[in-house]
Point group: C3
């Protein structure tokens, strides 16, 4: 990449302070930026890095008052962090803008409906009756099962697999290795100890603006739908079981798992490696900390920790005592000795 300060200012509607012809060729953090880098200063605690930085161009808040001289040119905006993120997005989109059309060795069924400016990479498999909305990108080696509907401007990264009948919303991103719509884990025990498989004939519905991490698995419903509401963000290696529903803007960190038929509210935050049992309701705004195991329904905006999970502040207090358990036991033994002695008197 190569841009002038003036060009960048036009992308993010910034005021230039310094040389508008400053050229930048890369992005970097303020603490690591080299000459030729574009950086940003948002959090005041990094301000000292600005004065020492070799960055050629820095996006800063209009409210920032410089305390020392700097070598960088500045681009002043209302929100430096948001402006920097916007720039990265523009840069990224530029790089993939040319992806368009169906590459050689892609399989696209005759009955599939492919919108304008859709990219289908080599070795991608688009099954019968699939619909793909305009501007969506199906990278190489992705699998799109029969009857799947994909909205506009969605990105399906290399090797992501979407089983038949599932629905993917607009602007949704599915990373490599994610598996959407595999069979839920449903078996009925037979008297002889074997299991009968309960066919899983539902689907997965993923709404708009969702992001699903690499190698995450979201199982199809037994009947009806597993539902991922709009704005949900899911990290890598997460397990979402059959018939789960995730409310809008809920965020789930890596390696967490949610068991079958649990209904998760809006803006819930589930940290890494946490687990949630099946058939419960997680209220809006609930926070579940890392490695917790939640087995009961929650009320709004509660925080849970531990396995089994209890209220966070209560767990914190128990943890402190847990660490002192050996001393506590000694105190009890000493008390027993003293009381025995007193009883003899």
């Amino acid at each position: 990449m190569q841009f002038t300060a003036k060009q960048i200012a036009s992308f993010i509607n910034a005021d230039i302070e310094g040389d508008e012809n400053t050229i930048v060729t890369g992005f970097n953090n303020i603490e690591a930026a080299k000459e030729g880098d574009l950086s940003f200063l948002s959090n005041p605690k990094y301000e000292d890095f600005l004065y020492a930085s070799k960055a050629s161009l820095v996006i800063a808040n209009k409210s920032l008052v410089l305390k020392k001289k700097i070598t960088a040119s500045l681009l002043r905006v209302d929100d430096a962090y948001a402006a920097f993120a916007t720039l990265l997005k523009i840069y990224q989109d530029l790089q993939t803008d040319n992806l368009n059309g169906i590459e050689e060795y892609a399989h696209v069924a005759a009955t599939a409906k492919i919108g304008e400016k859709v990219y289908v990479g080599s070795f991608a498999y688009v099954s019968e009756n699939v619909t793909i909305g305009k501007g969506s990108k199906i990278y190489p080696q992705a699998f799109i099962g029969a009857n799947v509907k994909i909205g506009e401007n969605a990105i399906i990264y290399p090797g992501a697999k979407i089983y038949k009948d599932c629905i993917v919303g607009n602007n949704t991103i599915i990373h490599s290795g994610a598996v959407i719509g595999a069979d839920g884990f449903g078996f009925a025990p037979n008297p002889d100890g074997t299991y009968q498989k309960i066919p899983q004939i539902g689907n997965v519905i993923i709404e708009d603006n969702v992001e699903i991490g690499a190698n995450t698995t979201i199982d199809r419903a037994t009947l009806n739908s597993t539902i991922i509401r709009k704005g949900v963000k899911i990290d890598n290696l997460v397990q979402i079981a059959h018939n789960v529903e995730l409310g809008e803007n809920t965020a789930i960190a890596a390696q967490a798992g949610i068991s079958g038929s649990t209904k998760v509210g809006r803006n819930v935050m589930i940290a890494g490696q946490a687990g949630i049992v099946g058939h419960i309701n997680i209220a809006d705004g609930t926070i579940i900390t890392a490695q917790s195991g939640l087995s009961k329904s929650t009320k709004p905006k509660q925080i849970f920790s531990g396995s089994p999970a209890i209220e966070h502040h209560q767990n914190n207090r128990s943890i402190i005592v847990y660490k002192r358990l050996p001393e506590l036991e000694k105190k009890i033994q000493e008390l027993e000795r003293l009381v025995k002695e007193l009883s003899k008197q």
Copy 2:
């Protein structure tokens, strides 16, 4: 789909109560069923839903005595749940019956032996000396390594990977992204802190009627075999390390992990995110609850919880006290104060 009550009755050997020409076009739960839906009633606690249901056709137990009038036609069978599952299976099989033959852009080595009615999808890679039994379906983008033997009527979903020399039984299902036979995690430390890789030249043997979830990994043995006995059911994102053996009909929920050389008995149940150390024996019928960490061999039919895992009822009692630890500590402090006072008297 579109079926009449009469057609469906013939599939599951049911007695029709009501209009044999009732037409159904979908499956649904009794509580959510709409007109045109086929549903079932098995668990008596859902009986009230039957009287309010708009389902057109309901499979019910012969033993059910109606307490109110219903609008649906009934199909009477001995076991409504099993009959419903059977129907779903028939419906599902109908949908994939036409998958047959080798699609364009599939790679099938000249030395591979492919049975009758086998499907090999586009971009699937079938290596040298592979054997695939009749009726098996190898979906697009699956990888079947050299010398792999796959039984009859097995299903290998899109993008599943089976490394060389592994064996897969009849009727076994392997979901997308599962990796069978990657190298076990075996390294010998060198004096300089680096590691020497121990080549893993064994294989994985998966017997009949096994199901393996999406993105689950089962490592090949160092020597000999990692063995998954018949009827085992494994959920998504599970890790089975090298040289593990899983006994018949053992079930493992999502994100659980079993370390190397551990031998698991029959009909063991391992819940989500549980972990088991290497080189131990898990007896038949052991139950390991979610997020537990089992580090010792077990006796038959015991239940384990916690990390490290102890007997379930013992752990439950400790959990209750754990939550009260802060109060316990206060009681001890109060006792210390009182005893000190008493001692002064």
Copy 3:
């Protein structure tokens, strides 16, 4: 395979004790070896198996003094285990030596630079400006994104995915389903509860002699690089978040996870299902036991256990008391009763 004792002795520079024309056709453990098998004896605790073994040929340490007669021929070396591993490696390399050249239906961009003796399997996708060093093997269905650099003698197993701009060192092995360089989990909350995606434009740098397990995910950095130093060994289903750095020869067992920007030192050992929070420093030689949750930076060579993790020996002592908590509570109740009685006197 079929080799004579003499041939094998020449591979590992061994002294033959017995018949140099002994023929072996397979490898096996000393306790399970059959006639025709080559085995080894390294750990003295398995010595009794040697005397009962039907193995035709056994690699043993020069220092071993036989206590009974054996039927096997012996190959004497300084380190039997290392010699056996070397043999397995030679055997394995022989099997893949013929993999060479670009198979039909592989996609190799015109701008890609492919070294000598490189194998690119069918349905592999090698993007623009990729460099692949000599002797590397890109198995079928692997994805190599734009500008990726792969060193010499690297192995990328079927279906592994490497996003654009990443770097993979010499002799590095990446197993099936691993995803290198997917977007880090970075989102900025908007006032309305939705999230703005922070584009992730950094990369992943994997140095030499690294092994990465099946379905493991290593996210690209937001800016700059997620770094995996030389000699690191990572098992299956592990999550490495954006901007993490792993020091040389660090080993991570299955299903462990490391959150964003954490810096892990050299020769650290992280056991299965352990989790580490973001933005901390793990010192050289730290050991983190299975299922632990580490939330604080460490000093060299400490061992941590528990969730939240504390020092291992401290946690062990607390665990012992934890199991006795119900009895402890009873003792306190009894003390309260006794003290109350004493107070009345």
